[in-house]
């Protein structure tokens, strides 16, 4: 056995409180230092490129097909909204699944600081992914126009773009909160996909068309429906009609749905993380 001493060979830096920036760097690193983490990143990038490739291919094969940057942005939102919630969920639940929370919380006992570092790290990551998606949209738009033989349209509605990004981020924070409530990867993924994809596509949309009351109620309980009136000129109701300008009821619905799916899960989740026994 080695005779190396326990004492450090060179004096270690003075002891100070762990700065938030350092926690942030550590959480950022944890996202990418495992095979699973890297796989998720590669899949994210791959899906964006795949979506871009398919659209360019369609543009190349169809003679009278042309699309502008705003269409690109809504197409590329799809792979993003499929993937980013998983990132938000994993950064939380992995610590419980792999029991690394024992180490994480003994190196930084303030669990709220750790969770805040995780949230900031993963939101920064989501923003980077959105930037990559926008870049894909720009490249794809130019490519499609070139191979499809039409003039590229570069017009994009700032309001639509802004709300699209806001929506992605709200879904994202919602997934983070749900993950803190459930502290389990599979449960959280199921709940988030049911809430963010299945219910809006399969259930709300059907109810929306059949019942009048549903059209009034649904925006209060679903963030997607609540946000669509704010998407501005480009926004459409699910039945394809042009949107009216948002009034008081729309604003209330937006606040209510955000409260329900972002504020409540984050607060309950933070409480659970704070109070639970780590073992």
């Amino acid at each position: 056995m080695s005779a190396v001493s326990v004492a450090p060979s060179t004096p270690l830096p003075a002891v100070t409180k762990v700065p938030f920036g350092r926690l942030l760097l550590v959480e950022w690193r944890k996202m990418t230092d495992t095979r699973a983490g890297r796989a998720l990143l590669i899949i994210s990038a791959g899906m964006l490129l795949l979506a871009m490739g398919i659209v360019v291919l369609v543009a190349a094969l169809n003679d009278n097909f042309s699309l502008g940057l705003s269409t690109w942005s809504s197409i590329l939102t799809i792979p993003l909204s499929l993937l980013t919630p998983v990132l938000a969920i994993m950064i939380v639940t992995q610590e419980w699944g792999q029991r690394t929370n024992m180490v994480t919380f003994s190196l930084e006992p303030s669990r709220l600081r750790v969770m805040a570092a995780k949230l900031v790290a993963v939101v920064a990551f989501a923003l980077a992914l959105i930037a990559v998606a926008l870049l894909c949209g720009i490249v794809g738009n130019a490519l499609a126009a070139a191979v499809g033989g039409y003039d590229a349209s570069w017009s994009i509605d700032g309001q639509v773009l802004g709300w699209t990004i806001a929506q992605q981020l709200l879904y994202f924070v919602s997934a983070f909160g749900i993950a803190m409530c459930l502290l389990s990867t599979p449960f959280s993924i199921v709940v988030v996909y049911v809430d963010q994809l299945l219910l809006p596509l399969m259930v709300w949309s059907t109810l929306y068309f059949i019942f009048d009351w549903a059209a009034d109620l649904i925006p209060f309980i679903d963030m997607g429906y609540a946000m669509s009136p704010f998407m501005g000129a480009g926004g459409m109701m699910p039945d394809g009609t042009q949107l009216p300008d948002p009034g008081t009821q729309e604003v209330l619905a937006l606040i209510c749905s955000i409260f329900l799916w972002v504020v409540v899960p984050v607060v309950l989740g933070a409480y659970r993380v704070l109070k639970s026994e780590v073992k």
Partner: protein
Amino acid sequence: MYAMIKVEGLTRVYGTFTAVDDVSFTAEAGKVTGFLGPNGAGKSTTMRIMVGLTNPTKGRATINGSLYADLPNPGRHVGVLLDASAQHDGRTGREVLTLAAMTMGLPKSRVDEMLELVSLTPSEAKRRIKNYSLGMKQRLGIAHALIGDPKVLILDEPANGLDPAGIRWMRGLLKEYADRGGTVLLSSHLLHEVEQIADELILIGNGRIVAEGTKDTILASQGTAGQSLVTSLDNEALTVALKAKGYSVEPLGTGMRVSAAPAEVGRAALESNVVLTDLRDGGAGLEDIFLQLTAETQRENVAQIHAEGVSA
């Protein structure tokens, strides 16, 4: 700096079950304190409370007077190893230490220093934890606890999975650490393991402390010191001599059990010119006391173990 762990009236209740029941003790600087108890005695629960991972129902644990949660950069004050397998399967050993070094604000060179200290080779350090053996995980855990050069160590069954050479190495390491003024609290359910390195022992059973102190004070407090087992060429003459001195003697196998320390028995034999063929301490060993004290919490029948112990 005078670093110590102080536990005061610590209690943890799960539903109707009291896992830790009004536990108080101190682990002093410069000493290795062994925390000993059978499975389910409450050792790990107590240690988790010390580092703030489990909330106590009552009482508190402080490190140098402050709660663990109030320590700035606690990894630099307290080295913690609670469960060596609680690491991400997909990370490499080196990555685990790198993350710890980053959090604590230590230079990267410290990672190599620690890997060398616990004898993990560079190629082993590059392997994923998934492919680590139990002992390698344990070594990594020890490196993780020591990386911030803390003044206090809290180790839950650190010898778990180490080979004999590894256990000896760890013993030396903890001794050196305590000699430098560090405080070490380590738990175990194996008496032999702790007996050899701990200066102080805390025996816990059923969530309660049943005995504490040095090995000798525990033995003395249980009133089992001053017993000998003796065999001689003339047992009858020796019995008479011992009884004359006021000791009780009872036959046992080919010899006798005497209520006197071996020195007294030897003196009596010398005075009465009896040749001794065997003389040893007949007091209950620490192990007997450990088993007795924690009897209600033992899963096995203690009486049976005793019988086997005597006949063996």
